[in-house]
Subunit: 292 residues, 2 copies
């Protein structure tokens, strides 16, 4: 079975580095279209569908931030499940941005929840605080099912200085300790392109260490958030890529709300939003390619 990280590698080779973040609030849906929908959850799913239709040949993959769906309760989680299904139907790749982190039996149950069934995704994001026994139970499920994960390592929010940046001796910071454990795991569990089945989340708004991180963790595939609305640019993102591959760069609001900056948007419908999203995704893809 092909590993998810290899599928993603191929997708990047074929279509570039853009990961579209479907962090879809009902507020981002064109108002006329939102009013027509039965409820906000339906409005969000219809919007996602239109955006996937327009971008699946341009984006390497999609990332769904589950908080936006949980906010709408069980109806929202149905929209989440249907969006994942729709992405599978396009043979595209879905990253469930759920940042779970829990131990033993709990981790196994989470892994079943997000690697199969209604909430099946190709990748999940995980939080490492509790230690590697909160990561490893996911690995055996991932191996069985050709799935993958990105573990939060060094994020791009100001608060990353609180703990991720703490010095732990030997010139290293906490995020290095996480990276070292992930690199060791990746050397044992890897795909055909030598990337570990589990990669890391590395924010792209801090330039200074990007090159160092890429050099030190060559067997980790990176999920790179922070592009666009969060202030990161193509230059910073490119520093985290490797031989033209090795990572996907996520942008959410700058793509899915791009329609709001288009002229004549007051009459926007989902098609209008989907076209604007495609334009923004192509622009982003080309900006990143130019930096490589």
């Amino acid at each position: 079975m092909k590993a998810a990280v290899d599928k993603l590698f191929d997708a990047v080779s074929a279509r570039g580095h853009v990961c579209i973040g479907l962090d879809t609030s009902a507020d981002y849906v064109p108002p006329a279209q939102r009013q027509k929908a039965k409820n906000d959850a339906d409005a969000v799913f219809a919007f996602n569908k239109a955006l996937i239709d327009s971008t699946f040949e341009t984006a390497a993959c999609y990332k769904l931030q589950i908080a936006y769906y949980e906010e709408m309760g069980t109806a929202g989680l149905c929209a989440y499940a249907k969006t994942l299904e729709y992405i599978r139907g396009k043979n595209s790749i879905a990253i469930a941005d759920i940042k779970r982190g829990d131990i033993a039996d709990t981790a196994v149950r989470y892994a079943k929840a997000h690697f199969s069934g209604e909430f099946e995704a190709d990748f999940v994001t995980l939080s490492p605080y509790m230690g590697m026994d909160s990561i490893q139970p996911w690995l055996s499920e991932a191996e069985k099912k050709g799935k993958g994960a990105f573990v939060i390592m060094r994020t791009s929010n100001p608060g990353m200085r609180d703990f991720e940046y703490l010095e732990i001796g030997g010139g290293k910071r906490l995020y290095h300790a996480v990276g070292d454990k992930l690199a060791s795991l990746a050397s044992q569990y890897k795909g055909e392109n030598n990337y570990g089945l589990f990669g890391a989340v590395i924010g792209c708004t801090e330039k200074e260490e990007a090159a160092e991180i890429r050099k030190n963790y060559q067997n980790l595939f990176f999920l790179i958030p922070g592009y666009g609305a969060q202030g990161g640019g193509a230059k910073e993102a490119a520093l985290l890529l490797q031989n033209g591959n090795g990572g996907v760069v996520n942008a959410s609001r700058s793509i899915i709300t791009a329609w709001q900056k288009e002229p004549k948007n007051e009459k926007a419908d989902n098609n209008f939003a989907a076209e604007a999203a495609l334009k923004a995704a192509v622009k982003m893809r080309d900006e990143i390619s130019r930096e490589l």
Copy 2:
């Protein structure tokens, strides 16, 4: 508005320290009862209801590990929502064990999802890895709505040595850095009993530091997992309590699967399981009380 941490303080004063973990797998439901149910999610909700009916005058609160519900997809999350509603109906207190940790807008959406609407709980658990800007957005929502949180600080799994235990200089470990930030937050945002609105998760299977932690973080209310099936005992738990209050001790499997160890359990129904759970909860409550 009364803060959740004060409601919990009162509940502990009135009913002792037991937090019952409704980490309910359908496998834990008596088979006869499971077969009668329309589906596993319904079986789990009916089981939870019976256990809440029998224990709400004994337990200080309930903790729901959401992984067990997510595993069953959207139907499972309906059972999760209905269980929370049922706990509210008993005027009891619910802790949503969701260990979320994400930043900015995402955290606000999560807070809305779990402090109101279908998934409304009194407390959530949070993961601190990304820094305090992944904790603080929850605080303004919590203040508005009389809610609370427990942030993972020092857990009881073996893997906690991977990162939580890393030395960060000055004789401190990572979990101290988390605790120090939480204590500072708690000094600004506190309830009428001087406990911070946000407390900490401190596992009870490691004895050595329990007394030190309790002494250093007097303004943090503790959620103490690891009792029973995970190997912790009343002695270890009692070290983390303070003046007869200051924490709740969670047990899940040792209470909710207690029926499996009762004689004549082959014909068990939910009432049978509920009685066994009550007996186990009373025993645990009394064991802890004796150590104080």
